[in-house]
Structure formats: C-alpha cells, structure tokens
C-alpha cells in the first residue's frame, strides 16, 4: 500500500489499513486486542510519568513532565499543556528504563500518545474510540518503513520523530472525523515539516533533546491535524514526501545519525556531560 492508495479510500482510513492486511477474523481480533493492550500501556506510562520526578539514569531529565503538569497554565492553552506533558511523561519513563510502547521507536514513543490521548482527554473522548486511530497510526508507520529504516542511526531524528508525528497527525485527524484523504495529508504535512532533523543525543543517551522533542512534535502532529481537518493539503504528493525524507536521511553524515558525535551532543557542555557520564 502507498499513501496515495490510502488517500483514495472511501471509508475510514483505519478500515482501509486493516483491509490491506488481508487478515482472517481471528487475526483481525488479535490485532485489535493488541492495539487495546498498547493503549492501556500508553495510559499507564503517562500516569507514571506525570507522577514521577525521579531522575533518569544520567540525571539530565526526569522532572519535566510532572513540572509542566503542575505548573500554572499562563497561556490559557490547556490542550497544548496536556499534549506536551503527556508526551514528556512517556519519554521520561523511557529515560528511566521504565515500561513504554515504542511508537514507532522508544525515543519517539511520547508523540503518538501525547497527541492522541492528549486530544482525546481534552475533548472527553472515550478510549474505545482510540483503537481505530491507533491502527491507522501503525499503518502510516508501516508505509514509511517500506521506504526507509525507521531509526535515528540510518535516517536521523526525522526518521523517528518525523514518522511518529506523521502517525500521530493521521490518528488525530481520524479521531476528529477526517476522511482518509485528510488523514494522509496530515501525515504528509507533519513529515514535510520535519525533514532534515538530525539525531544528536547528548552523550548518546535518549534524553536530551529527545524528551522535550517529543513534546514539540506531539504538538506538531496536532497542528498538522488541525490544518488537514480544515482542508489544507500537501502540494507534494505524500509518497514523494517520504521519498524526500529518505533521500535527506542518506545525505546525513554519521555524526548526525545517533552516534552522539555531532549537533547538540558536540557542544562544549554536551561533550563535558558525555565525559562525566562515561566515568
């Protein structure tokens, strides 16, 4: 399946994703049961993350989600705060070696739950209605993975957080009633506006910038859904956007692909922290 095929589906995009899998009834039930279980695990990791201020293994992160969650909402933007806090809650649990759901990777695990559960909770939408959008998110990730490896070490951060944001954007769009075309364009716009992002974790740890990055890209996904639901589309066809991202990934030097040797990791302070952690 390509994104262009998916965009042409007449019903819900998630139904088209399931139909494309060619599953029998038992396999279909197992898929939906698996997604429900993952939804519960996502919720569980959000709850643990919002309640904890225990430091990560390095001590660089650990209190961001709880700190934001408890802070006053000076912007008057409760959805924004919720989405950011949920996303960081998951990634701080991840940085503490807690239990999370990779979506599609662990480093980008906060984006999908941050956006999807954040929007659902903000609007008072029941978890039962989140299973289909989650299936769609997985379907979008699967399409991307046919073109490129979803790993920072091969494609930079764009491959991880770009994929998670595209998946989350499509999921939120479907949750709010968007058709298949809108879902696919939400994904494409999220990807297009992530291209070029490098993977430069300080000391090689999945903490800085990874934790705050999930807050930013969960919001990015919601923005993309907002544009798509209003009828905005990607001028470049969605499948060509994936090709462009894969092509940029191949141009990235190894220093910017999860080696901890470039970008924010290669700053005086980044190098100092890496040295301290190595001791």
């Amino acid at each position: 399946m390509t994104l262009d095929d998916l965009a042409k589906a007449t019903g819900r995009a998630s139904d088209a994703v399931i139909a494309d899998q060619g599953l029998d009834d038992a396999e279909r039930a197992a898929l939906l049961a698996g997604m429900r279980e993952r939804l519960r695990e996502m919720r569980d990791s959000i709850e643990r993350g919002l309640a904890s201020d225990a430091p990560s293994r390095t001590g660089m992160v650990g209190w961001n989600a709880k700190g934001l969650w408890q802070a006053e909402d000076l912007l008057g933007a409760p959805l924004l705060k919720r989405v950011q806090a949920y996303a960081m809650a998951v990634n701080e649990e991840n940085a503490r070696m807690g239990r999370i759901v990779a979506a599609p990777t662990a480093g980008s695990a906060g984006t999908v739950p941050g956006a999807l559960l954040g929007v659902a909770d903000h609007l008072g939408i029941d978890d039962d209605r989140l299973v289909a959008p989650l299936v769609l998110a997985a379907g979008i990730g699967e399409v991307i993975s046919q073109t490129m490896f979803i790993a920072g070490s091969t494609g930079g951060c764009q491959a991880e957080i770009g994929s998670s944001a595209a998946m989350a954007a499509a999921a939120v769009t479907e949750l709010l009633g968007g058709g298949a075309d809108a879902c696919v364009h939400a994904a494409a716009m999220a990807l297009m506006n992530t291209i070029g992002l490098v993977c430069d974790p300080v000391g090689g740890y999945v903490e800085v910038p990874c934790v705050s990055r999930n807050a930013f890209f969960a919001v990015h996904a919601v923005s993309s859904a907002q544009l798509a639901l209003a009828g905005l589309t990607s001028v470049i066809p969605p499948d060509e956007v994936i090709q462009a991202m894969a092509s940029v990934g191949r141009m990235l030097p190894p220093e910017l692909r999860e080696t901890g040797e470039g970008g924010i990791a290669d700053t005086p302070t980044g190098r100092r922290i890496a040295l301290e952690m190595a001791r």
Binding site: N94, I100, A102, S153, Y205, A278
Partner: protein, 238 residues
C-alpha cells in the same frame, strides 16, 4: 513489519533499536545455543559501539542472553542477574564491515564447551535481522519460528528438508542457504509459518547429512510472562 511491531513492542526503555532490538538479537543467540549460556561476549559495531551505554544496549544484550524479553522489568539490573545466574559477560568493539550501523556479534558459550556465534543488526523500531551464524551466511528476522540446519553439502538436502516441512503441512516463508565450499559444510535458515511438529523435527535431526539442528522461537512477540519463550525453546535440545 506488522502493525503491532510499528505500535510496539511494549518494552523497557530507552531505545527500540538499541535496547529492545539488542535484547531480541541476544534472545536469538541464546535460542541458537539451545542451553543456558555461562559466557557471553558482545562485539559492538557502528552506532552500537558509540552509544551502547547511553541506550542500555549492554544491559539489553545481557538480558537477552539470560532469556529475558524486551519488556522484562529486570533489564535495568541485568548485570546483577547475570552474576547470580553464573553468566560471565564481556564487551568489545569491532568493525564488522559494510553492515547496518546497529550491529553486534554475539558469542555465547555453555559450560560443556558448546559455543554459538550470531551476528545481526537492529534495523529500527525493534526489528532485527540475523545474517551470520557460526561463520555461515544465514538470514532471518525472528518474526517467525526458524529452523537452522547445519549439514553436509550433498545432493538433495534442500529438497528433502523442504519435503519434510511440507509433509508437516507447514509453509516456508523464507529460505537461505550457503556452503563453505563444494562438498563441505553448509547452513540453512528457514523461516516457517508455524513451529515444526516433534516427529518432523526428530526426523530431520536423524538425517545422515544433518550435523546440527535448531528450532528457534519467534521472538517478536516474546513478553516477560515467559510462557512464550519457554514453550518455544523446549524443542531446541540436542
């Protein structure tokens, strides 16, 4: 890649490729050894070598060698558990050549002298690929039960093995075979749609040109309740 692999696995952090994937590769190596290892050596390549400690790759590899699944809460304390279990561990870095940056060579040894060396890559999102076993090129991903057969390179081996699997009413998903040299030793890796029956396994094992046979479990859905791994490795003795 199945949809539950994209949204998943449920895992202990912090990295699907460097933690969950590393754990799965070590689980495959443990299944190939077919007994609890007493010694584990890990040679890390590329990004694995650069960021292993930050991503808990070392912990995950040791956890996999202990038979822990990627969601096992014992992973953060894997070194302590290894000591308790009598598993000696060592790490090195190695340039494995033109392979994926997240690659590792895992050498496991058991008390009585058996060793197995598996080399593989973690491709992202927890997806893995083993590409070398005991010096032979093989190819499998742990997403299906896998037969590993070391055999003499002689006429009709592949046809016979495929016949036995077909008679067991099992569909072959992938098959990869390579030999050291004509008439020498060879290795087959066969991913199948479901595990082979005990009689079929015993039959293959007793074919005169089969030197060594392993039946690896599917590891992609392995979870820490343990039932999955225990059941699937039960038939790898021998």
């Amino acid at each position: 890649m199945s949809l539950l692999d994209v949204i998943g696995p449920v895992m202990v952090g912090p990295s699907s490729s460097h933690t969950a994937g590393a754990c799965r590769l070590a689980l495959l190596a443990r299944a190939a050894l077919a007994r609890p290892p007493s010694e584990a050596r890990f040679d890390l390549h590329g990004s694995f070598a650069k960021t292993a400690r930050g991503h808990g790759t070392d912990l995950a590899l040791v956890a996999g060698a202990l038979g822990y699944a990627p969601d096992d809460p014992r992973i953060p304390d894997a070194f302590a558990h290894a000591e308790e279990a009598g598993l000696r561990t060592s790490f090195g870095t190695s340039d494995l050549g033109d392979v994926h940056p997240n690659s590792v060579r895992i050498t496991l040894g058991a008390e009585e002298g058996t060793t197995t060396t598996l080399t593989g890559s973690s491709l992202g999102g927890g997806i893995v690929r083993a590409f070398e076993l005991d010096g032979f090129r093989i190819e499998f991903g742990g997403g299906a039960p896998t037969l590993l057969i070391r055999h003499r390179d002689t006429l009709g081996v592949i046809a016979r093995v495929a016949r036995v699997i077909a008679d067991d009413e099992i569909n072959i998903a992938t098959l990869h075979c390579a030999r050291q040299r004509r008439g020498g030793e060879a290795m087959m890796s066969i991913e199948v749609d479901r595990a082979l029956s005990a009689p079929a396994f015993a039959y293959l094992e007793h074919l005169p040109y089969v030197l060594w046979l392993r039946h690896l479990p599917e590891v992609m859905s392995a979870t820490s309740d343990g039932a999955h791994i225990a059941a699937a490795t039960a038939r790898t003795d021998g």
